[in-house]
């Protein structure tokens, strides 16, 4: 019986593989088009990156990337079904085909890229682990934190990073281990630890919590690299290309000064790269299996990188993150995209 079952499963798997091989360019794109919407895996709730608003509409930095892909495919940024995922369920959901693309503040690491069979299509947000401490502590740098008690989430890579950082600087610390961000916040607020460490995007959200944000300071050190970006499955390279070039289009648009407001005027631009990108020249869209004006739709629908950033996590929002690393390479950051050529 067991053997039979196994054979049946294998047969199904084989059929699935063959079926996907004989399809046109991108089976995922075909599925998405047929379904009429994109299924995008997002965080169940991370301030500024993805959270439902009062009306139940998903908003955030990661969410807008999904909307960008939707705009590229359908010319309409709102044809997205959001699949809220937790840290544990995000990878199985992508592997099993429950979602088409994962846009959920996922750190690009060797193991995830290689071992899990995923393709990271690029970095959308350069994050890194940092510290927040009470101003009254009088600490100006993380290197002065020797002997401090530090709140940290258990089971994350941040725990390891913290231990490494203190060991390499020959300092001691007392860790106060907590389960999640909210608990960390409570502990920190109740003075049970002197400082709290997590990704800097999370720290900023932490500081914006109502009670006297000015009493806390985010220390300048970044002790780990956390490049966050969208992920797709191995095995559908064209789909990977679509996801990658939507990301690139957002960045190049900022570089070339194309915004959601001036994109119509920009269509008449004489700059050859703008022409190629907006579909006035060449036929980049059909190479991806997309309409000619796909990039125009992306920018018209969600804006360029800077617009998305300022809308959700920029200095004027509750999260209040400065661009930092996520500034264009021309302006002192490391945000870079290959050219449209």
């Amino acid at each position: 019986m067991k053997k039979h079952l196994f054979t049946v499963v294998c047969a199904f798997a084989a059929v699935a593989v063959i079926a996907s091989a004989v399809f046109a360019a991108s089976p995922t794109l075909e599925t998405v088009k047929k379904r009429g919407n994109l299924i995008c895996g997002v965080n169940t709730g991370l301030t500024g990156f993805s959270a439902p608003d009062d009306k139940g509409v998903w908003r955030g930095f990661d969410v807008d990337y999904c909307r960008g892909i939707s705009a590229a495919i359908f010319g309409n940024p709102d044809k997205v079904t959001y699949k809220p995922l937790t840290g544990k369920t995000r990878f199985p959901a992508l592997q099993s085909g429950e979602i088409d693309v994962l846009s959920r503040n996922t750190t690009w690491t060797f193991k995830r890229d290689v071992n899990l069979g995923f393709e990271f299509v690029g970095v959308l947000y350069y994050d890194g682990q940092g510290f927040i401490a009470r101003k009254s502590l009088g600490v100006k740098s993380a290197k002065e934190l020797g002997g401090a008690s530090i709140c940290i989430q258990t089971g994350t890579t941040t725990e390891l990073n913290l231990a490494d950082f203190f060991r390499s600087n020959k300092m001691k610390f007392k860790s106060v281990v907590v389960e999640d961000a909210a608990e960390a916040r409570q502990n920190y607020a109740a003075n049970r630890c002197d400082a709290y460490t997590t990704d800097r995007s999370g720290l900023a959200a932490q500081r914006s919590v109502p009670k006297n944000p000015a009493d806390h300071v985010i220390l300048p050190e970044i002790i780990s690299k956390e490049p966050l970006g969208p992920v797709v499955r191995h095995g559908d390279n064209v789909w990977g290309d679509i996801a990658r070039w939507v990301r690139n289009a957002l960045i190049v648009a900022e570089e070339l000064g194309i915004t959601s407001k001036n994109v119509d005027a920009m269509k008449k631009s004489s700059n050859p790269e703008i022409k190629r990108m907006l579909g006035q020249e060449g036929d980049f869209g059909s190479m991806l299996g997309l309409p000619k004006d796909w990039a125009y739709n992306v920018i018209k629908g969600v804006g360029n990188y800077s617009e998305i950033y300022e809308r959700h996590i920029g200095p004027k929002t509750a999260v209040g993150l400065a661009r930092g690393y996520n500034q264009l390479w021309t302006k002192g950051g490391i945000l870079y995209s290959p050219p449209f050529r």
Partner: protein, 376 residues
């Protein structure tokens, strides 16, 4: 004195009762109740005083926090600055999401209607003052799910609302009620099967029960949600909510089966024998003699399982279904409502409490009503 002196042979006999005197002031009324229940011994007095002191420490500040110093109306967490107490501002703004999840606003009447119909259908099942129990119970299991599906999901011209938009209390109730409705009949059948004398049926039932009882619910949900689609070809994915629901029902039935089996085993063998002696066949004897007694014995166990099930529905949040708990959690990640975890979670807890407590009270009432001398 003088009377007796005049008629020495007339004995003194009272012809009427002395009117009842009120009990001594120290054992009646509030004082008496307090004396008997709160201050009956030095140890109890000490405990009472301590309890009152603790209540004094906890209740007034809590009351002040929740009602006096609190804020109910506001636009965002900025309004909470300077507020010492609870900042309930997000509850009215997000009330719809707590209750309906992402269910589109113009269609929410359908959820309400389903809920009202459900309550109407449940009424005859729960109380014998309303007629038609058998029909209502059968309809609840076989007919109502179809009605609810048509109303909630949409068919026959009703706009379709895909299941990923269901959420909040609605989703929690769908999960809980479906699991409760189906787990009881399936559990009864499994329990009977496990005690059956037919080896095949018995083995299947034992295997089913033991299998589902030996895996954690999280694993079941996880399997149903993410592992199952790995084994099916693309495009043949059953609805995600349905998959999770089936896993949930299987799990619940296994537990229910063991609770019911406890009741069956508590009945003396004479009951079965008597039923057989009356010429009743298996199903008749079960229906008329065994099950009514067995189920009555295990009411506390059954309701216990129901309540546990209701609370277990919160686990579906780990597979990304937006139940009440996940709505409460994600609400405070909106930049507007950052830092209001206490308020959001307390509100969700209150809703859970209302439902679980009502179930518990109903079971107590039912036990008292059915009490025919088994209680010691």
């Amino acid at each position: 004195m003088s009377d007796i002196a005049k008629n020495p042979d007339r004995s003194f006999v009272r012809t009427e009762n002395i009117p009842e005197a009120p009990p001594p002031i120290s054992t009646a009324g509030v004082a008496g109740w307090m004396r008997a229940n709160l201050f009956s011994s030095p140890a109890n007095t000490a405990l009472t005083l301590l309890t009152f002191y603790l209540l004094y420490l906890v209740v007034p500040p809590l009351f002040e926090w929740a009602f006096i110093d609190s804020l109910l109306e506001g636009e965002s967490n900025k309004d909470c600055r300077g507020i010492e107490g609870a900042c309930w501002v997000l509850i009215p703004k997000r009330f719809g999401q707590y209750i309906y999840g992402f269910y589109p606003e113009p269609e929410r009447w359908r959820v309400n209607l389903t809920f009202i119909l459900f309550c109407l259908n449940l009424l005859p099942v729960l109380s014998d003052r309303v007629p038609g129990r058998t029909f209502a119970a059968l309809f609840l299991v076989f007919g109502f799910p179809i009605v609810a599906f048509v109303l909630l999901h949409g068919a026959f011209g009703l706009e379709s609302v895909p299941t990923h938009k269901w959420g909040g209390l609605t989703l929690t109730l769908v999960f809980a009620s479906v699991a409760i409705l189906f787990s009881l009949p399936i559990g009864v059948l499994l329990a009977l099967g496990r005690r059956s004398e037919m080896p095949v049926i018995r083995t299947i039932c034992i295997a089913f029960i033991e299998l589902w009882r030996s895996v954690p619910l999280i694993t079941v949900l996880f399997m149903a949600s993410f592992m199952l689609p790995l084994f099916t070809p693309e495009g043949v994915n059953a609805n995600e909510l349905l998959r999770a629901l089936i896993g949930f029902i299987m799990f619940a039935s296994a537990y229910m089966a063991e609770v019911v089996r406890g009741g069956l085993q508590a009945l003396p063998k004479g009951q079965t024998e008597a039923a057989m002696a009356l010429g009743l066949n298996y199903w008749k004897s079960m229906q008329l003699i065994i099950l009514p007694q067995a189920l009555k014995i295990v009411i506390p166990g059954i309701v216990n399982t129901f309540i546990a099930l209701f609370k277990d529905t919160a686990l579906v949040s780990i597979i990304g279904l937006f139940d009440l708990l996940l709505v409460a959690r994600s609400a405070v990640t909106d930049p507007k409502w950052l830092g209001l975890e206490h308020e959001s979670y307390i509100f969700a807890a209150l809703i859970y409490f209302i439902f679980c407590f009502s179930m518990s009270r109903y079971s107590l009432w039912l036990e008292r009503k059915l009490d025919t001398g088994h209680r010691n």
